[in-house]
Amino acid sequence: MKIFIFCLIMILTSSTAWSNDVCSEDLGPLPTLTGGRVKPLYVHAQEFLKFVTSKRSFGNMNAAIVYCYLSLGTSPQGQELKLTSPIGHVKLKKFLSLDENANEIATETLVAADAQLRQEYQSESQRTEPDESYKNEIGTTLSRIELYKNVKDGTDWTIPTEVSGELKWVSIKEFAPTLSQDPSLAVKLQEAKALFIKKQTDHYLLELLYAKAHLFSWAMLTTLLAMVAFVLLKRNLWGNILTFLSIGLELAAMTLRSMISGRAPITNMYETVMFSGFGALLLATIVSLVKKEKIYMWGGLGYNFLCLFMMMFANNMLDSSIAPLVPVLRDNFWLSTHVCSIMLSYGALALSWILANIMLVRMRFFTISSQDVNYYTKVVHTCLKYGVVLLAAGIILGGIWADYSWGRFWGWDPKETWSLITLCVYMVILHGRYTSWISPSRFILVTAGAFMSVMMAWFGVNYILASGLHSYGFSTGGALFLGMFFAIQISVMVICGLGGPKKAIS
């Protein structure tokens, strides 16, 4: 296993010309303790660079090298390390006297403005009606400055050393106060890595593999290709193969993530989005193979693509880093059963949502036979049934877990309440459908709308309710995303619902 990982890393780390410099790509696999976990330096450096500059690399330099130069206070020959940080808020641009169209600023300039920004943050907080989005933006900028300063001080980079037989983490500043230019430092660093692996484990190297393999990007590509294949090719073979490849890639990524963190990969927003996309695709594939109907697969691929897209690009909202878990969630059995069940249910409901929306548009703008309407209604209905049963099971499992760890089955906590709201909303729809009280076209309309309750339970509770409504302003990533989602969904419903379906041609 270890050899396998090592080989993979060697292959993936396309090592450029060997140089005499301390800061080289060889630093990537060094262990470093950060945020309560041991990570490969490459991963930590990338997270640092991503946070400070919102880019994964600097020019053609990889993150670990940039991090190294900054920590040691040196710079590569012929190139000055001038990092730039993103600036989004108009007020903040004005405060820093930036051009309105500028969207980044030299990080050093920010560091120079640290004191002013701190004061501005203070005075904004003390206002009776503070502009929360502005305050948050200053807060984020201050955290960027703080982290950047720590890296430059040489206090952020931790290195394992041996102190009287015990492993101890020291900063690079303590580790090598004078050696910043000395090539022997490179050797010393590699020795530190060997020491850590000897004393503890090389398990952390898995994360390097995970970070370098970019499995989710590959999964996104195969998902997209699978969709293209289903549309363009008459035979399903290629589409099926690509779909299975995509499932396989995601499964591998999630397995790696579980092995790295030692827990089920469903503990934060990033992971739940990932799991629900995967769950929906898996469920859709099984159902479509059993029922021999392509339509499920289509929905599953579409939703999976949306989830992967969010994971790639919605970095403000979904944090991809692996962090230690809060104490209350540290129970793998309940965590995996409860959250898995809920996430699978969200996946199934998302399938119904995608199909219902496609139907809505088709019924409004294209002709569709009543046979087809009945057929698709049945498909959506099937998705709903799976979703509702899984949701009910998930809520009950959650209740039992809450009872087991807090001593209460139900407490009207916002997350609990919203999951019950979601269940009730779908219950009304299912009951209405059972007794034919809701007509097929209305059924499609309400199913499309009902997914808003899922989004509220899933994201809204965290991004709108938790921050307190006083501070929403629909400006932070999550709230903005949700607001846009609701707006688009409602307009689709209004446009397609009010016009009424085109008369079906039998």
Partner: protein, 531 residues
Amino acid sequence: MEKIKSFLDKLVRTIGGMKFAVVIITLFVIAMIAGTFIESYYGTDFAGRVLYQSVPFMILQGLLVTSILFATLLRLPPKERLYGFYIIHIGLIVIFIGALITAVTGIDGHLTLAPNDPTRRVILADDILIIKNETTRKEAEIKLPNTYRPSFLNIKWREVEVLDYLPFSKNIMEWADAGRKGLFNSSSYQMFNDTVSQTLTFSRHPDGETTNHQELGPLSVEYLPEQLAECFAGLNRHDIFFWDLNITTCFNPSDKRVQIRESKKGHRMAFVTYNDQPFVFLPDKSPFPVDKELKPIRSSDLRALSSKLFQTSPIIFLFGKQLTFFSKLSKQWEVHTFQHMGDEISLPWMGFKIKLLNHSTDQFPTLTPIASLPEKKGGEVISGEQRAIKVRIAGIVIWVRGGQEERVKINDNFYSISLSKKSLELPFELTLQQFKMDTNPGTKTPASYESFVNLFDGQSNSSHHIYMNNPLKYNRLTFYQSSYFQENNGQYGSILSVNFDPGRPIKYLGSLLLVIGCIIHYLIGLRRKSV
């Protein structure tokens, strides 16, 4: 008879019907949505009182159960294709019954364990008012309604009348009649510069609830009795004066009671004979007199104020309409006077100005509770969650606030009144031996909370280890790790939540039925389709 029967029949059909169910579920959903938003605005306690524990919401849940029950009854006698349906709906009803049993007979409280302190008292959620007549040793416990509205209780117990109850209140400053003999000055000021503005209210009245010391950054403000203004003015002549807190008069070293000498080490010492008692001061070190070992006697009412003590740090002394400070420019104690309300005086620090807003000697500021909504900032409730209750004893009206005790002496009867939480005594004792909080390596974020407790049941001791997801079960009670606190001496205490839930097995049974019912329902559906 026929008519009644047909009416009942129709009623059952309506309540058991789909439309009724859909309407009730929709109302239930709307109420819950409102509930989550109320909680987001005003906090958990308020939302619980407004909605989740309110009677209308209970009725709504009752109607929901009735609807489920009637829907099931209507589909009797049993038909094979509906087996899943029956089991699901019975499961739901069983869950509701379990929840009802929990609500009525369950116990939900918390136990605060200070380190090494045996504890039995479990604090519950209900608010109560405890009135004790300590003279006759009689006491009454009044249960307060679980409401969010200010309500007039009008309950009488002996001489005590319980009047208004404010479940959510905040304190506002009101100026009330001083009601006592003597001169007690009270004032409020506004201190401001270009960036900061703050209102300061002070009172020398014995019942005043304000502090008479404020800090604004490096600047400190001290509010003193009016009479002392002259003493401070005298500091330019004698750089020291002596002040008796009780009678607010002062005298300076020219007084024959005072002797100033210099110690061997060159420190200035003052020997004062006051009320036939000798006092020794080291005035340039501390305002308190010192004992033989040169330690300050903080209980003394006689103080020495040396100009030197205050010349180095920015400090303003306010005396109602007058104020004084040591000016570094003129090297003098400057005395300024506000001629009228609203006058401003410039201070020599950071462009600060001070404005007199109010000043009185026969009125003083008191904090009076008024009904309010809880106010949240940054996800935390910051004000408005104070409970307050107005009580009248033989004509005297007092406010009792949550968690506080008020003591009143009336007609030789000594009353103590407090607003607190209902509690119960456990038949056994828990002692916290150690609270342990692990952190994630290299950070301050907690990784685990653990309590090591000793349980003594009257005969034997046993040790238990309580942590997240590992509660202690004893005597049908369950103890969960819930929170922690730090004592003044740095030791950690632990808070456990305590739970007794006879409805638990019933809720679990209902849940099981629900899941089994779903499975059966779909299996029947599949079989029918394949047939």
